[in-house]
C-alpha cells in the first residue's frame, strides 16, 4: 500500500500553517508563564492528613500575614500547592504553623522551593546560552547531514525545510503551553525547556532519515520524476518513523500518567514535541522540498 503524500501535500500545509499561526498568536497574546525557576518566588506543596481546608481559608491565612500575590491550587482532596513571592525561612515556618492550625498536615509530605530573584535571573541567562548553543549545534549538524543530498535542489534547501519543520515542532508545544498557562496554570519551567531541547535533538533525525532515503532513491532510479521519488522515500521510511516514535511515546505516556508530578510537565512537552516532530518529518519537510522544486521549475519554464 502506498500513500500519496505529494498529491495531498497541501492539506498538512494548511493545517500546520494554521496551527503554527494560532500558536504564535497565543504566545504573543497570552504570553508564556515562566515558572519560579526563572522569575524567583516560592512554591509550597503540602499534603493534609484528611481534607484540605477551603481555598478561601488558606488564602485568608496567607494574606493575613501580608503576603501577596498568593495562588492556591488544589491538586487532590488532600494535596494543595501554594505559589508565593520569594520568602525567607522565617516566613516559611510561620506559614507552616499557621496552616497547621487550620488542619493537620502530614509530616514529611512537604515540598518547598523558594528562589531568590538573583538566582532566577542567572538561570534565565544561562538557559539562553544553552538554547542558543543547542540551536547552533543542530544547525551545524543539519549543514553536514543535509550536505549529502544536493539534487535536484541545493542542499541548503533541504536544510532550510528541515529547519522549518523543526521550528514547527517547537512552536506548537510552546503555543499549547501558553494556552495551558492561561487556563490551567501550567508554567514554563526548567524541565519544560529541557524537554524542548530534547525534542530538537530527537525530531531532526526522522527528517534526516527521509532525506537520506531520497538521496538513495535518486541514485537508484535515475530519470524518475522527483515527486515520485520523494513519495516513494516517504513510504519506504513511514513504518520506521512511526514505530520509533511510538516506542518513545509509549514510555512517555506511562511517565506522564504514572510518574511523579515533577515529571508531568516534562513528559507532556516531550509527548507533544515528539508527536508533532514525527508528523512534520513525514508531512512537511520532504513535501516542502518538493514544493520548492516545483515552483523553481515553473519559473524556469516561463523564462
Amino acid at each position: 500500500m502506498q500513500f500519496d503524500f505529494i498529491k495531498y501535500r497541501r492539506i498538512p500545509y494548511i493545517f500546520s500553517a494554521g496551527l503554527v499561526g494560532a500558536c504564535l498568536v497565543l504566545i504573543a497574546v497570552l504570553g508564556l508563564k515562566w515558572s519560579i525557576d526563572f522569575t524567583g518566588g516560592s512554591v509550597l506543596s503540602l499534603e493534609y492528613e484528611s481534607q484540605v481546608p477551603s481555598t478561601q481559608e488558606i488564602q485568608r491565612v496567607i494574606s493575613d500575614m501580608g503576603l501577596s500575590p498568593v495562588i492556591v491550587q488544589k491538586e487532590t482532596d488532600k494535596k494543595v500547592i501554594l505559589k508565593l513571592p520569594y520568602i525567607n525561612e522565617q516566613t516559611h515556618q510561620q506559614i507552616l504553623s499557621r496552616l497547621q492550625e487550620t488542619a493537620k498536615i502530614q509530616t514529611g509530605s512537604e515540598q518547598f522551593e523558594t528562589i531568590g530573584p538573583v538566582i532566577g535571573k542567572e538561570l534565565k541567562s544561562k538557559i539562553k546560552v544553552v538554547v542558543v548553543l543547542s540551536l547552533l549545534a543542530i544547525l551545524v549538524y543539519i549543514i553536514i547531514a543535509f550536505g549529502r543530498v544536493s539534487f535536484p535542489v541545493k542542499s541548503s534547501i533541504y536544510g532550510l525545510m528541515g529547519t522549518i519543520a523543526l521550528f514547527h515542532d517547537v512552536t506548537i508545544p510552546l503555543g499549547i503551553w501558553a494556552l495551558l498557562g492561561k487556563y490551567a496554570g501550567y508554567e514554563v519551567s526548567i524541565p519544560v525547556i529541557t524537554a524542548l531541547l530534547t525534542v530538537f535533538g530527537y525530531s531532526i533525525n526522522d527528517t534526516v532519515v527521509v532525506f537520506d532515503r531520497i538521496r538513495e532513491n535518486l541514485i537508484k532510479n535515475r530519470g524518475e520524476d522527483f515527486g515520485v521519488i520523494v513519495n516513494k522515500s516517504l513510504n519506504d521510511t513511514l513504518v520506521r518513523s512511526v514505530n520509533t516514535s511510538l516506542t518513545v511515546l509509549i514510555v512517555l505516556l506511562f511517565l506522564f500518567f504514572l510518574g511523579g508530578s515533577t515529571l508531568k510537565p516534562f513528559s507532556l512537552t516531550l509527548i507533544i514535541g515528539i508527536g508533532f516532530g514525527t508528523y512534520s518529518s513525514i508531512f512537511l519537510a520532504s513535501p516542502l522540498v518538493y514544493s520548492f522544486y516545483k515552483i523553481k521549475n515553473r519559473k524556469n519554464n516561463k523564462k
Binding site: E110, Q111, G201, Y202
Partner: protein, 448 residues
C-alpha cells in the same frame, strides 16, 4: 551457528548474569539465606553477594538544597577565597553535629559573588538545620579548670571538654586576624594570632594566669586547637607552634579567621522535599518505568515477532547494564535522571526498529535469510549513528548547564544512548545470529 557467535553469546550471558547479581543483590541474598537453612553442607558454603545501594538524590529521599550568598565586603579581595573555605569548614562541622549523612557543602563563585551550596539529605527538621547554618561562627578561648589533683590522671579522653575547660571573656570579636607562617629557623608551620587593643590586654591577663596550662580555642563549641601557654604574652601577638603539617596549620588558621572575621550569609534559595514525598515519587517513577518497559516489549513482539522478542532480551540486558552503572559509578539518582533513563528505554529500541525494518526490506528484495540479517545491521548503521549523535550532542550541551534537573537528565540520557547502541546492535546481532541455519530460520511468520 559458528563458534565465534557462541563465544560472544556466552560472554554476554555471563556479563548480564554478573551484573544482575549486583543489581538484585538483596533479593539474591534472601534466596541464598533460604538455601543455607536447608542444612546441606555444600549449600552453606555459598557466599553472599556484596550489596551496593543506589545513591538517591535529595528529591527522592527527602532533604534540602540550600544556596547561601556570602557578604564578603569586609574582607580583602585576595583573602575572599580563603574566608569562604573557613566558612565552609565551620558550617560542615555544624551540619555534622546534626547527624546528617554525607552533607555536601560547596563554595561556588558566580561572577564576583561567592556562594555556599549546602545539600542536606534525609534531614527531618530542615528548619533547625537552617537556623544552625545561618548563625555566625562563635569563637572563644577557654582555660583549663583548676581541678583537684586526684582526678587529674591524664584521663582527658574520658572527661568531656566541658569538664576540662571553662570560658574566658576572650572571644572572636577581640581577635583581629589569624595567619599561617613558616618559622624561618625551624621551618615548621606556625599560626600567628593578632588581637585588637582590648583583646591584647585580655590575652595578657589570661596567659599570665595560665602559664604551663592549655588555652583551648573553640568555635561553636568544637575544639579547634589547645596549645599550652609557654609564658605571659603581651602586645597582642601570639604564635601557636607545634607538630602539625602545613595543611593542618592552614586549616586551624582558616577556622580561626572564620571566627575572627565572621562572614554573614543569607539564604537566597531553598528546595526542600519531605521524605514521604520523595519516597512516593520514587516508587511512582519506577512503576512508570516498569510498565513502559513491559509495554515497549509487547509492542516489539507484536510488530516484529521473534526478532522483537530478541530485541526485548537485548532491552533487558540494557536495563541491567544501566542499573549496574548507576550503582557502580555511582550516579546520584534524581527524578530527572530517572526520567532520562526511562526515556532512553524508548529510544534504545529505536535502533532495533531501524534494523528490523531494513531486514524486512532486504528479505522482500529476495535476499536469503543470512544476507538479509547482516545487511540489515550494516545498512541501518548510519541512521542509528546519526540519531544517537544528535541526542548525545544536545545532552552534552545541556549537561554544561548548572541546574541539577537538567544535569541529571542529560547524564542518564547520554549514558542510556551509549549503552543502547551496544545492546541494540551487538547484543541483538549475537542473539539473531544464534538462529542462523536452525529450523527457526525457516519459519517465515516468526520473522516478519
Amino acid at each position: 551457528m559458528d563458534s565465534k557467535t557462541k563465544n560472544k553469546f556466552i560472554a554476554i550471558a555471563l556479563f548480564a548474569a554478573v551484573l544482575s547479581c549486583l543489581v538484585f543483590a538483596q533479593t539474591i541474598n534472601k534466596g541464598i539465606n533460604v538455601l543455607k537453612t536447608k542444612e546441606v553442607p555444600l549449600l552453606e558454603k555459598i557466599p553472599f553477594v556484596p550489596v551496593k545501594e543506589f545513591k538517591l538524590g535529595l528529591d527522592l529521599k527527602g532533604g534540602s538544597h540550600l544556596i547561601y550568598e556570602a557578604d564578603l565586603s569586609a574582607i580583602a579581595e585576595r583573602e575572599k577565597r580563603e574566608a569562604m573555605e573557613g566558612l565552609r569548614d565551620v558550617i560542615e562541622k555544624r551540619v555534622n553535629m546534626l547527624g546528617v549523612a554525607e552533607p555536601q557543602i560547596v563554595v561556588q563563585q558566580v561572577d564576583d559573588k561567592y556562594r555556599l551550596v549546602v545539600d542536606l539529605a534525609g534531614v527531618m527538621d530542615v528548619h533547625q538545620a537552617i537556623e544552625m547554618i545561618g548563625k555566625t561562627p562563635y569563637l572563644e578561648f577557654r582555660q583549663e579548670k583548676s581541678l583537684p589533683t586526684s582526678t587529674q590522671n591524664n584521663n582527658d579522653e574520658e572527661m568531656s571538654l566541658q569538664d576540662i575547660f571553662e570560658g574566658t571573656p576572650l572571644t572572636g570579636r577581640f581577635l583581629k586576624n589569624a595567619d599561617l607562617e613558616i618559622n624561618q629557623q625551624t621551618l615548621q608551620p606556625e599560626i600567628l594570632l593578632e588581637f585588637n587593643k582590648e583583646g591584647a590586654e585580655l590575652f595578657e591577663k589570661i596567659t599570665s594566669q595560665n602559664v604551663g596550662k592549655r588555652l583551648a580555642i573553640f568555635i561553636d563549641n568544637a575544639l579547634i586547637s589547645a596549645p599550652v601557654v609557654q609564658e605571659k604574652i603581651a602586645g597582642g601577638k601570639a604564635r601557636i607552634t607545634g607538630k602539625f603539617t602545613v595543611s593542618e596549620a592552614r586549616e586551624i588558621a582558616r577556622n580561626l579567621k572564620a571566627g575572627a572575621l565572621p562572614v554573614p550569609i543569607t539564604l537566597i534559595s531553598q528546595t526542600t522535599v519531605g521524605p514521604v514525598l520523595g519516597k512516593a515519587s520514587l516508587s511512582q517513577s519506577l512503576r512508570a518505568g516498569l510498565f513502559g518497559f513491559l509495554c515497549v516489549c509487547l509492542f516489539m513482539i507484536v510488530v516484529y515477532r521473534f526478532s522483537g522478542f530478541l530485541a526485548c532480551l537485548a532491552l533487558a540486558v540494557y536495563t541491567v547494564i544501566m542499573l549496574s552503572l548507576f550503582k557502580l559509578i555511582p550516579v546520584t539518582l534524581t527524578l530527572a535522571g530517572i526520567g532520562g533513563a526511562i526515556l532512553s528505554v524508548g529510544m534504545a529500541v529505536d535502533a532495533n526498529v531501524l534494523i528490523f525494518e531494513r531486514q524486512k526490506e532486504e528479505r522482500k528484495k529476495g535476499e536469503v535469510f543470512e544476507r538479509a540479517l547482516e545487511n540489515g545491521f550494516k545498512r541501518s548503521w548510519p541512521s542509528i549513528r546519526d540519531s544517537n549523535l544528535t541526542t548525545l550532542l544536545i545532552a552534552l550541551i545541556m549537561f554544561s548547564f548548572g541546574s541539577s534537573f537538567v544535569k541529571g537528565f542529560a547524564f542518564t540520557l547520554s549514558l542510556g544512548v551509549v549503552v543502547s547502541m551496544f545492546s541494540a546492535i551487538i547484543v541483538t546481532r549475537t542473539l539473531m545470529r544464534m538462529f542462523l541455519g536452525t529450523k527457526l530460520e525457516k519459519i517465515k511468520w516468526l520473522w516478519r
